[in-house]
């Protein structure tokens, strides 16, 4: 093969010096001429990254790797024999089989005499993955790490080989599609659409012009073992069976739109390599390294792999309690376990516990395996609670996405978890198929499942503390909804933290006005009631509905979202004697900042109740807790910078780190008391991590069990935590970072008594480039759309804060998140402000 000239390499973005050829004596007794791209020695702490392409690409597929970290590491991207610019095999030579390819790779690695003192990382794509894995299982000690991109070693259980490959591989068609015409090359390149450049398309095709250059492409396709008696089938199966020998770290970097090596192949590899990490690239197809910024992710992963100073995450503590304790304790009782005021239904503990076992048995009988993901598409109510505990009992992992994400967000969230099963009403089953939320899952009708009486099915033992229990979703208020993984031990620890923090005992009875909170009821072993309220609109909860639920179970505690509490207060005047509410000993509210005025008004309805608000996030709850009296004290005594969320709860640790800390450099040190920084939290109930987001998880978890909350704030002299906003909303001004919440609070306080503004929410956002942003304040007022504030309002706003304010705008209504209807979407506000002021 004639290599391109230097100028051509440069046009392609490849340093001509990287292009090298070697004559390598082969295991077949023939010396072959190999071509590869080699960036040469990297930094002293670097690795050798050997990249193996698939079919029908070539070394160019790894351009982003070569360019991104070719200085720090030695990156070698090979052209397989017969491919790229390596030699073309003679027309009479027999087709190279899988075992030949693995041996070829070994020949080359031996010949290259790679510095054995440096760690060797294999990166592989498509069929290159199978070949690299084939070499790795025989040299497990030589491999320091593996990066696998859209590849596979076996057809995933329960399905056939991809149809498109089957078609291309069939006899005469294969030669036509792969060799005689460039259809296969063209088709592969076209899968990437506009995510790769025109030039990329040209370069991918370059070595495969003319049928004489495409023979190996056809041979590769012919080597796909579509039947068990295929010549390579046993060899590949043997490697698949030995994959467990690889204990080096593995990163799967996956283009999620690939129709050949799809998510099922990723799951198959995850099962064979349980320690592997997964990073999905949702927009990318087969040529993921060329389409998405895989190189940056791999760069960070390599830094991690080679770094030695990262403290390992403590293993999940062997939590001695379990989520089933509450039910075990009360399973003989015929007292009420759950009441549903919307569905006019109730169930006692004994029946509840029996149905949970029935559901578990029914699931096991249907074939549910421990670890299977089950999307819970049942609306909140008694059946949902039974189904959730039933799935847990059977060893399944519940995927819980609530309608608060919006229908599209809900669908996306479910799809990202790839559930094997869905449980819900018939309509949900249809949605999961028709809307492709979970096209490959098996749907179970919830009414049928819950109604079944147990047969003779033996239940597996209860799941261990380190077994995966649930995937929950972040609200998506600050980015796309992310799947959060919880193990059983973490859920049990969370239940215990709630019980300790709020002194919850057997005499307590809970009203869950925020429906998902009802899931804690059975775990706590307390009677629980759902209110009669549209779960998708918590802001419509009436005082009468809340009171009714309280009286139904003689409630001692009620949990409601801030929006729900606001409506309860708004409707309280019309309601007659709210005796159920009045007897509560505890009212708690969370999910979004709760205005102190709301809590104060609630206190008037429930005079004996302790009014509390926990602080936390989907990934870690509770972190801190505060009661109304402390809020009032803090407001008076504190510096007023932000919202006081109280002291960390028992068992939780809080660390405030510098805003600029590098999460890849290990656990940060604390900033001094009073200084603003990012809030990190550590507790036994902090979630395990994220779903298929290695990158997010890595940056959110700097080590030793610490979780970055994404909030900024400070600790005061009394150990209380103050939240000053989200870190993504910090205004990056020339004179230093400005946090939004203290500004907003100061303005709200200044404006409310003045009568200038009647409604009251305020958003402070930054406009302009990083490090020289200007502060813009947007105030909710009587306005249509966005307008400049009048002179008096602008003066009042500027007078209330001690940072320069470039512009004061008014808006009819600030955009808020869907789930809580309360968190101001400052990113959207900033975008509108920038547009308005330019």
């Amino acid at each position: 093969m004639d290599r391109p000239d230097d100028g051509t390499w440069r046009t392609w973005g490849i340093d001509p010096a990287w292009s090298r050829t070697f004559d390598v004596p082969g295991h077949d007794g023939i010396t072959h001429r190999w071509h590869l791209l080699d960036t040469g020695p990297g930094g002293p702490d670097g690795a050798t990254v050997l990249c193996v392409h698939g079919n029908p690409t070539w070394a160019y597929a790894w351009k982003s790797f070569l360019r991104r970290f070719g200085d720090d590491h030695r990156v070698i991207a090979i052209d397989q024999l017969g491919m790229g610019y390596s030699e073309r095999l003679g027309a009479d030579a027999p087709p190279r089989r899988y075992v030949d390819r693995v041996a070829d790779l070994g020949d080359l690695i031996d010949h290259l005499a790679i510095d054995a003192s440096l760690p060797l990382v294999l990166a592989a794509h498509d069929w290159g993955g199978a070949i690299a894995m084939g070499w790795a299982v025989d040299h497990p000690d030589d491999v320091a790490g593996m990066v696998l991109c859209n590849t596979g070693i076996a057809v995933p259980a329960g399905r056939g080989a991809p149809k498109i490959i089957r078609l291309a591989a069939s006899g005469p068609l294969r030669d036509l599609v792969c060799r005689r015409t460039s259809t296969f090359v063209e088709g592969t390149v076209r899968l990437s659409g506009r995510r790769i450049s025109r030039q990329d398309r040209v370069v991918f095709r370059a070595p495969y012009r003319g049928a004489e250059h495409r023979r190996a492409i056809a041979d590769f396709v012919g080597d796909v073992p579509l039947t068990d008696d295929h010549e390579s089938a046993a060899d590949i199966a043997a490697v698949a069976a030995q994959l467990g020998r690889i204990d080096a770290p593995v990163l799967l970097a996956w283009g999620a739109r690939d129709i050949v090596f799809d998510d099922d192949f990723a799951s198959d590899l995850m099962q064979r390599l349980p320690h592997a990490e997964l990073q999905r690239f949702p927009g990318a197809n087969h040529l993921v390294m060329a389409e998405a910024d895989v190189a940056s992710t791999v760069d960070r992963w390599l830094t991690d792999l080679l770094g030695t100073d990262r403290e390992p995450r403590p293993v999940v503590q062997q939590h001695t309690s379990s989520v089933f304790d509450g039910l075990h304790r009360r399973r003989a009782e015929h007292t009420i376990a759950v009441a549903d005021l919307a569905g006019r239904d109730r169930i006692d503990f004994a029946t509840f516990a029996r149905r949970v076992d029935n559901v578990a048995a029914g699931l096991v009988r249907r074939g549910l395996e421990p670890g299977d993901r089950v999307a819970m598409l049942t609306p909140p109510g008694i059946d949902l609670l039974i189904a959730v505990y039933g799935v847990w009992r059977a060893g399944g992992v519940t995927v819980v996405a609530d309608r608060g994400l919006g229908l599209r967000g809900l669908g996306r969230a479910v799809a990202s978890a790839r559930p094997a099963w869905t449980i819900g009403p018939r309509t949900a089953g249809l949605a999961s198929t028709v809307l492709r939320w979970a096209p490959k899952s098996q749907h179970i009708d919830v009414a049928m499942l819950v109604g079944e009486e147990t047969g003779s099915t033996e239940l597996p033992s209860e799941p261990e503390a380190d077994a995966l229990a649930a995937i929950l979703f972040t609200s998506g208020a600050t980015g796309p909804a992310k799947g959060v993984r919880y193990r059983h031990g973490q859920l049990a620890a969370q239940r215990d933290a709630l019980a300790t923090t709020y002194g919850i005992g057997d005499d307590d009875r809970l009203v869950a006005a925020f429906a998902p909170f009802a899931l804690y009821g059975p775990a706590l072993g307390v009677p629980t009631a759902f209110t009669d309220c549209d779960v998708t609109k918590p802001g419509t909860l009436t005082a009468t509905a809340l009171d009714e639920a309280c009286r139904e179970i003689d409630a001692t505690m009620a949990f409601a979202s801030p929006a729900a509490l606001a409506n309860v207060l708004a409707t309280a005047d019309d309601a007659a004697g709210l005796e159920g509410v009045a007897q509560l000993r505890l009212v708690f509210s969370a999910g979004a900042p709760v205005p102190a005025e709301t809590l104060r008004a609630v206190s008037a309805l429930a005079p004996d109740a302790s009014i509390r608000t926990p602080y936390g996030m989907t990934e870690a709850l509770p972190v801190a807790d505060i009661d109304l009296a402390t809020i009032d004290r803090a407001e008076l005594s504190g510096d007023g910078r932000g919202v006081c969320v109280g002291e960390p709860v028992e068992g939780a640790e809080v660390l405030v780190a510098d805003l600029d800390f590098d999460p890849l450099a290990g656990v940060p040190t604390s900033v001094p008391v009073g200084a603003t920084g990012e809030i990190l939290v550590r507790a036994p109930w902090v979630s395990e991590g994220y779903l298929a987001r290695w990158e997010t998880e890595r940056t959110a978890r700097p080590g030793a069990g610490w979780h970055r909350s994404g909030d900024v704030g400070h600790l005061d002299d009394d150990g209380r935590l103050w939240v000053e906003g989200r870190s993504v909303h910090v205004i990056d001004a020339a004179d230093g970072p400005v946090t939004p919440v203290p500004i907003e609070r100061a303005i709200e306080r200044a404006l409310s008594p003045s009568g200038i503004v009647t409604t009251g929410r305020v958003a402070a956002v930054g406009v302009g480039p990083a490090s020289c942003q200007q502060v813009v304040v947007v105030v909710e007022a009587d306005a249509s759309g966005l307008e400049l504030a009048d002179r008096d309002l602008a003066a009042a706003v500027r007078g209330a804060v001690d940072v320069p304010v470039a512009a004061v705008l008014v808006i009819g209504e600030l955009p808020v998140d869907i789930r809580h209807n309360a968190k101001i979407d400052r990113t959207a506000v900033a975008e509108r402000a920038i547009e308005f002021l330019s």
């Binding site: 020339a734 480039p769 200007q774 400049l788 320069p804 470039a806 330019s838």
Partner: protein, 341 residues
């Protein structure tokens, strides 16, 4: 220090001369005519010598700039009326004369006062820096000749006589006849118009800050200095929506604020028509609107001030709000009222 200031009779020039005198510098004011402004610099510990002359007159400059350590070159032909030759002779040739004289007399530096409009291409500027000058501006002779002058001035910066270009953005203050004066006059006559509802965020510079930035540049400029050969946009670093500023000027001057609103697209079209028509009408006054002005008034213009603050070691000392209060006092005094503070 002995510092020559060309164009010393302008608003910035007079303020600068006063600042230099107050700190004890010897100042050579080079200007075309005796200033008739009532705000003559108050004599400070420094010493003031006035030379009457024109920057087109190299011989007069040569006499005036003798023994000067630094020259601040403010003299320029501004506005939109006149031929390209008239602009070029003052702005390009005049600058060449000033730098030549400074070099001949061994000055260590020249502070060339330029304008942000030299780099203006009609697009909004959001947190921008001093971009390189654009040497073609259609028929807008002022920015075009100032751009050429700035480029040549910076190119001439060498190891004996260093040059820094300072571009103050929209200078205003008491006694300002350009920006504030025109707005107030139009407001009085009921001809006040805002382009695009006046919501664009714009940087401005209170005159004392512009002067103090020039003083900082005088002190900083020397061969080898960080600022040598560079251009900086100077502003208060407090951008505001145009409408808010215009209203504040009107309030300070106690004139009604009743603006008409002209959409940006309309303003640009009117400006283009005026640009084409004005020279043919042989009008000597400034046109009500030009294409350049439409862009300036209808799009955001504010700047990243970090490098100017670092390289010149300067920060504005008077905030926008303090400046507005001073402006109000000045108008009150003119009306014979007592200051509010």
């Amino acid at each position: 220090m002995r510092i020559a200031v060309t164009g010393a009779s302008s608003l910035i020039g007079a303020t600068l001369v006063e600042s230099l005198l107050q700190r004890g510098d010897q100042v050579v004011a080079f200007q075309r005519g005796q200033t008739d402004s009532p705000d003559r610099p108050t004599p400070g510990p420094g010493e003031l010598v006035t030379h009457l002359g024109d920057v087109r007159d190299a011989a007069a400059l040569d006499v005036a700039l003798e023994r000067c350590d630094v020259v601040v070159h403010l003299a320029a032909k501004v506005g939109v009326v006149g031929s390209r030759d008239e602009y070029a002779s003052v702005n390009i040739d005049g600058t060449r004369n000033v730098i030549a004289a400074a070099q001949r007399h061994g000055a260590r530096g020249v502070v060339h006062v330029s304008t942000p409009s030299v780099a203006h291409d009609g697009r909004p500027i959001v947190g921008g820096r001093a971009e390189p000058p654009i040497v073609e501006h259609g028929t807008a002779w002022y920015p075009e000749t100032k751009a050429i002058a700035e480029r040549r001035a910076l190119d001439s910066s060498d190891e004996r006589c260093a040059v820094v270009a300072v571009r103050p953005h929209l200078v205003w203050g008491p006694g300002d006849t350009q920006l504030v004066g025109r707005i107030v006059e139009r407001a009085e006559n009921g001809r006040l118009a805002l382009v695009g509802a006046g919501r664009s965020l714009v940087d401005t510079t209170y005159v004392e800050n512009a002067a103090s930035a020039l003083v900082a540049a005088v002190d900083a400029i020397a061969p080898g200095a960080a600022c040598a050969g560079k251009a900086y946009v100077v502003s208060n670093g407090e951008p505001r929506p145009i409408r808010e500023l215009v209203e504040a000027f009107c309030v300070a001057a106690d004139v009604p604020f009743e603006p008409r609103n002209v959409p940006l697209g309309v303003a640009r079209r009117i400006g283009s028509v005026v640009d084409a028509a004005w020279p043919r009408l042989h009008r000597e006054d400034e046109p009500p609107l030009t294409r350049f002005l439409a862009d300036q008034l209808g799009t955001a213009h504010w700047f990243d001030q970090r490098n100017v603050r670092a390289d010149l070691g300067w920060r504005p000392s008077v905030s926008i709000d303090e400046g507005l209060a001073a402006l109000g006092d000045w108008y009150r005094a003119r009306r014979g009222e007592a200051p509010s503070r």
